[in-house]
Symmetry: C3
Subunit: 119 residues, 3 copies
């Protein structure tokens, strides 16, 4: 951990490699995590919908799953930093409303299982 998942709607011009580099750097700079523990992925959403009106909209969302034990303040600072990193690499398409959001979620520490293998 942490596991970061970036979802972005397909109407956004986003470079996933650059976006993941940016959010990983933000997570690392928080000082909360070991460098190699930060694992992220980007998912392009081909099928998406915001609301029920036929308005031009886009969204990007990051879910940060981390082991329990962080303070509320640490979680909020982390989410704000990742949101800032995401905002810096994304622009709303012309005429669109772009919603950006970041959530943090606790992983269950007691049952978390992990192994590292070297090839």
């Amino acid at each position: 951990m942490p596991h970061l998942t970036l979802e972005y709607t397909a109407n956004l011009a986003l470079d996933p490699a650059a976006a993941l580099a940016a959010i990983n750097a933000a997570a690392f700079d928080s000082g909360l995590f070991g460098e190699s523990d930060i694992k992220s992925r980007a998912l392009r959403l081909a099928d998406f919908r915001t609301g029920i009106e036929a308005t031009e909209r886009a969204y990007a969302h990051v879910r940060i799953a981390l082991l329990g034990g962080r303070t509320p303040g640490e979680r909020k600072e982390l989410a704000d930093a990742v949101l800032a990193a995401l905002t810096a690499v994304l622009a709303a398409p012309p005429g669109h409303e772009l919603q950006l959001s970041v959530e943090t979620v606790d992983l269950d520490r007691a049952s978390y299982a992990k192994a590292v293998v070297h090839g």
Copy 2:
């Protein structure tokens, strides 16, 4: 929020745009959310498995992530309404058992970060 994620196995004949319109409408009709706050995506599962037997099976699942503070009754009504909407747009393939499910999960309100940008 809310963030809705529809997953469906690739052996289902589902129109993702119609399905998302249906579940967004059900979420909006609950009266719990602002119209533009309802953000959904559909993920087609090319690689899936139900159980361990070689039976013809399919499933669709919706995860509804919402900010804390809803009552258990509100969450149950919302899940039931989304399940009804999903059921209305899906049919089991001939000879298949189709499982439909809806979960609700609380987002951590204290750390949730959001921004809106206009293009």
Copy 3:
């Protein structure tokens, strides 16, 4: 439930069908679930990043979502069994560090909605 989600980075040589069969069997052997209730999917991550350094890395992660009421010991045994199953079907690419992890998460039982349809 349970819903199992296997994510694996695209630099891994993994047979998703074999991997899902292995983790479903591990879940079934736990004795905690009905056979047909075990629903899994595999997601290949084309866009991923571990950490901030330019090192060759890979990861695979399983999220097990199950209805509340399992003991901590049951959850830990389940996660360990699924991790063992995953380890058995995966090898680290030459020169790579491969991180494997398994989490369990409680679904909200009170609002969970489900239906079964036969085609």
